[in-house]
Point group: C2
Chain length 351, copies 2
DNA sequence: AGTATGAATGTGATCGATAACATCTCTCTT
DNA sequence: AAGAGAGATGTTATCGATCACATTCATACT
């Protein structure tokens, strides 16, 4: 059999690993046939198929994913844009995304956003035009990146806020933070606390964050005073600093925190102020991060299914990429209040 | 100017984004010249250079990284192989790697290893032959993956164990767990504890893990009894379960834990057994994970510079890839014992 | 028997870049 | 003034895959 045309140099020293051409040569077929076998697309005779697969096995051939993508093959990679991966929420979401993507045969790239990343910067991170992207947009940097993405990139995002009916973007997933915060607040009120204070995490937008809104919703519905929300960062330290003064005030009996790390800081501040938890002060967190159940006292918190959210986000993207073959987007769990030791009835002396 | 040869169809509808050819056409030069400008390699007249850069700016052209890599351009991507990213050590190391890689202009892929990943499986994850790889090999899955990597891939790894002089592999970084564990053990002995118990994390090899060895070293050097080490997993829960019986024994006054999560479980078990920390029992962790300083009591632990280790690992890889231009590998911090509230003098009644 | 049909397979172009080599135009040397 | 050398730039091959189209051959239908 004569092979001509685009066939590359066969006589050059083979330092690099086997390509589709090498397999074709050994198997005595054309590279196109090898390609067909690999992708299982067009019809290939059983005999040829077996032969080619055998040669592939023998030579340890692996298709070069770069070349495949370049040639317009099916997209098999995603880049995740996220900011701080040390935060539990982002990390767990990322884990869900990675797991789902890997299961579906996608390779995943990760690119961490700096607080100051600009538009240019974001475009720079994509490997090629048309690269599929997922964005973890729980904070300002993520939201900005999502906005800075060129319009033609297929993207799915995990966001803080449920989209308006108006601006409804079908390629987003979210957790119902607002309802969850309201639920946690109602729970505290039901224990007899006159009101609930709120220590917020930084917002992803200029609007009032969902968790803050939910908290206000519940207080207003119960016709309770709405204290000025406090503003923390993401770390235990920032929570500690934010409430050092507040916890000294004995009329403060319940604090809802934007995440578990803040709650950790709050509990330490309370301890230092000599206030017993939950005797004098109830503390409730958000996230149900791994240590929460083992803290002293163990932390009452809202469990958020970040991992499920991440999985769903990938599946959404997958459906966007190939609407016909991709599996349905799985549901993720609703937020759930996990009651532990850090919350209890309001102290008698107050009220 | 006539352009012939490999020039692609110019008249086709432009749905895809600009390529080097489009830039060349608009700027009135050949694509090779554009390539030269982008890579700043060969000499190009200042006039042409400015013109081309201007056109690139106007068209919003971004080079396709896939095509570049395929054509044998400089390698600008790394894949990180890691197992469970929910563990603090692995997550922090990954963060250090990502940060260093991004700073150096590399894009980073991440691939999470399942406990059962086989050799075939690992090869499958690489995007192309010659793909650069980093492995976080703190556990068995990571070590196995490191071993399963084809010999020709440029790899650098963060490992548990300092390599023997014999098998010295220059492309590895590690933390001196052994010395750190010995140091922590000596510290506890110096507080008057008759001996120190050890709750181990799972080992990455069949040998005795470094932390276990360091602990034994110190006990033996001090001529103290060496209790049978306990075996936990990675989670607080596994620590809790592992020591539930042990902590009831009042003669046990000091426990060193393989990581902070285990320590968290141990502290809860101790609380439930009615033992005061640090009054009756001293607990020391390993890692200095973020919550450690805010626990109740705050946790005495060995701070490990995982992030610095990750950075160093990337830099090592970078030097391996281009020995001449890559910056020197930065040092990372030595393990350091951080003394907090969870450890104190041995109780009087004992000893 | 002649032709339509379709399965199996091969050929050449293409994706978007880089590498190697070729060409052209100056300037400097002798 | 001719040739050498160097700078600026163009041309072709190539990386490793896929796609669109062409070709071959056997079977079925009229």
């Amino acid at each position: 059999m004569e092979v001509t045309g685009h066939m590359p140099n066969q006589d050059a020293p083979r330092s690099r690993s086997a390509s589709i051409w090498d397999v074709a040569r050994v198997a005595g077929v054309s590279q196109q046939t090898v390609s067909r076998v690999i992708n299982g697309k067009a019809r290939v005779s059983e005999e040829t198929r077996v032969k080619v697969l055998q040669v592939i096995e023998e030579m340890g051939y692996r298709p070069n994913k770069l070349a495949r993508a370049l040639a317009g093959g099916p997209v098999r990679s995603v880049t995740v844009l996220t900011s701080d991966t040390s935060l539990y929420g982002a990390a767990a979401t990322l884990r869900g995304m990675e797991e789902a993507a890997r299961t579906a045969g996608f390779s995943v790239g990760i690119s961490v956003l700096e607080p100051g990343s600009g538009q240019r910067d974001v475009a720079e991170r994509l490997n090629r035009p048309g690269e599929a992207v997922m964005v973890i947009a729980f904070d300002a940097a993520g939201v900005r990146a999502l906005g800075a993405l060129p319009p033609d990139v297929p993207v799915a995002a995990a966001v803080e806020r449920r989209p308006d009916i108006e601006t409804k973007n079908p390629w987003q997933v979210w957790l119902d933070d607002r309802a969850a915060a309201a639920h946690a607040t109602r729970y505290l009120l039901s224990l007899g606390h006159p009101t609930v204070h709120y220590l917020a995490i930084p917002s992803s937008t200029s609007e009032l964050p969902q968790r803050t809104q939910g908290w206000m919703d519940a207080l207003r519905a119960a016709e309770r005073p709405v204290p000025e929300p406090l503003h923390g960062g993401w770390s235990p330290r920032s929570g500690y600093l934010a409430v050092r003064d507040l916890v000294a005030d004995p009329s403060v009996t319940a604090i809802l925190c934007g995440n578990d790390d803040l709650a950790l800081g709050v509990m330490r501040a309370a301890r230092e102020a000599g206030r017993d938890i939950p005797g004098d002060l109830s503390v409730v967190g958000f996230d149900d991060s791994p240590p929460a159940a083992y803290l002293n006292p163990s932390l009452t918190t809202v469990r958020l299914d970040f991992q499920g959210l991440g999985r769903a986000c990938f599946n959404l993207l997958h459906r966007r990429l190939d609407p016909h073959t991709a599996p349905a987007v799985p549901a993720w769990s609703e937020p759930e209040l996990i009651v532990r030791e850090s919350s209890g009835p309001a102290p008698r002396s107050t009220g």
